[in-house]
Subunit: 374 residues, 2 copies
Amino acid sequence: MTITSSTVRSRTDLCTAIEDELSGLIGKRASAATTYGPDFARLWALAGQNVLGGKFVRPLLLMETYDALQQTHEDQQAHQAHHGNSSTETRQRETAISIAAAIELLHYAFLLHDDVIDGDLVRRRHPNLIGSLLAEAGENSRAGSGLHWAQTGGILMGDMLLAATHQSFARADLPHELRLRLLDLLEHTINETVAGEQLDVGLGDGVIAPDLQTILVMCGYKTATYTFELPLRAAATLAGADFAVENALATAGRHLGLAFQLQDDLLSTFGDPRRHGKDPFSDLREGKETAIIAHARTTIAWPDIEPFFGKPELSVGDGEHVRRYLTDCGAEAFVQGLIEEQLQAVNNQLTGTIPASVRNVMLDFAGQLEGRQS
Amino acid sequence: MTITSSTVRSRTDLCTAIEDELSGLIGKRASAATTYGPDFARLWALAGQNVLGGKFVRPLLLMETYDALQQTHEDQQAHQAHHGNSSTETRQRETAISIAAAIELLHYAFLLHDDVIDGDLVRRRHPNLIGSLLAEAGENSRAGSGLHWAQTGGILMGDMLLAATHQSFARADLPHELRLRLLDLLEHTINETVAGEQLDVGLGDGVIAPDLQTILVMCGYKTATYTFELPLRAAATLAGADFAVENALATAGRHLGLAFQLQDDLLSTFGDPRRHGKDPFSDLREGKETAIIAHARTTIAWPDIEPFFGKPELSVGDGEHVRRYLTDCGAEAFVQGLIEEQLQAVNNQLTGTIPASVRNVMLDFAGQLEGRQS
């Protein structure tokens, strides 16, 4: 007897399913929030707009990997003439979507607390939650207290999203053993992300020395763990994959995540601002400790760069000047080399234990990296 | 056949059991934290010192209520000649202790984020986690960035404690149904506490109008819910008490919590600073919107008080002057009356459905209120 394998879902269908799940999670809380008055309800309304306006990178990575693993599993079962139980499969997939959505809430919780810590009011050219609260508080608040009120909203909403993430993991419709594995994964992820955020802030505040090794560790902890390792490991756990597959995926994910972060740094400094949409010199003005800067520090060009680094009043002319120095001293090429190394490491993990369908998902995500401008 | 009822535990034994549980929870994480370097490990070490130096009010309330409910239950069973299963009872009590400890972590998570929001560096005359990080960063950090580094530590450590609280609830050794009820309770608690914190900040920042009703709602949400309602409801759920008992306890807890908060405000303004240890005029200097002030605003004395309210440079002489006005205009007596009403409402709840042993626990906590100086 042959089993028809489940349809490979298009990315649009997946986005819709993730969006529906997130709408449900947030909508339920947003309507309960009205009990506590308009200011509390406003937090949930703003968070809902921002979360639902996202690109769902992490949930998509989880679900596409999950579907690919299930596909492989079903193909094997069909080969062995086993019978799939489609109602169980549907339930399992719903659970996977609930975890994927929870990971998006975690992402947004991290973004919010990061925005509070960095004093940011804008994300992707729009006011973030804090910026919106500040604009709305303008007329009512005591002089100078609007920012305090708005940042308080950022801290508190981050707390509620962190709580909501845990609630979804804790309530997942799974055998308790599996739920505990996902809870372990969540705990590990939060520890690494917090450690990465602390390193990043320590580098910026001059508490921690900016050597290349520390910067690479920071990028891995702060971004790669929750953006790649978490969705990939969760997908493997939910699909019942072998531990060897889970580990290979996690390792590949960490390398891919580091490549993404390094690419981001390159784009911010050397990319075309008409395409990536950021201030091309903001990293230099802020004195952001990136791998580019860490390499430049080790070259004879550093004494010429240093006077301009971390200067809020950096002119466009000076910015272009520094950018040329960073290219000429080899820092740009050095970071391009690091990205190549990371992508090579991804490829190395994708041979062997990883099923072909899953490999394609990873290569697709890696491919987005190469064409990406922002 | 008569069953020997379980021993009524002394408060010292309970404190030791709670302390052991907290040491285990924090110690495990503190040692895992060393993987991420000394700065990350320092967060856990400082949090551990602060949490373990606490008075465990919330875990004690939970455990004393739990033990009293179990006692009642056992007495009834003995009467009906049923047999208790002591190994099950021991396991259940261990679970109760783990939830009690998790509630202490939640308390500390709230305190930390509250300290970040209020810019506080000191708690109970000692540097809080942020104050300690600031003192330690002093020599290394870039000029002016020590406070940023320290407050970042406060936000991040609060996040980790909030996560740890959820992990304990999610892993509780209980039937999934009961675990879900505790997770509901945790979600409700966090919503109310966050709503209360937001109201408090909104009152301080002048975004929300300071009428008496809003201030009383704020006190209930910000403090009474997680300090009294949460431990009492959790105890009832864990002990398998009737829903009527749980609700009566929760209502009594909210009234008791409000009484505590109002008493705190009275002590801060009118109490003997040699006994309560706080700056006697800090509430006035900060312009804290309390029930005392809300009442004073409604009297003809307000125009004489207002010029001094929220003045950071308030002198001792002026402070004493304002305090006399607050007494003479009836604000002190008004708040004393509110406290009486709340305590009366506690007593009303304690007649009827609540078992005698549990009533004694509540009366004991209410009694501490009356003799309390800080």
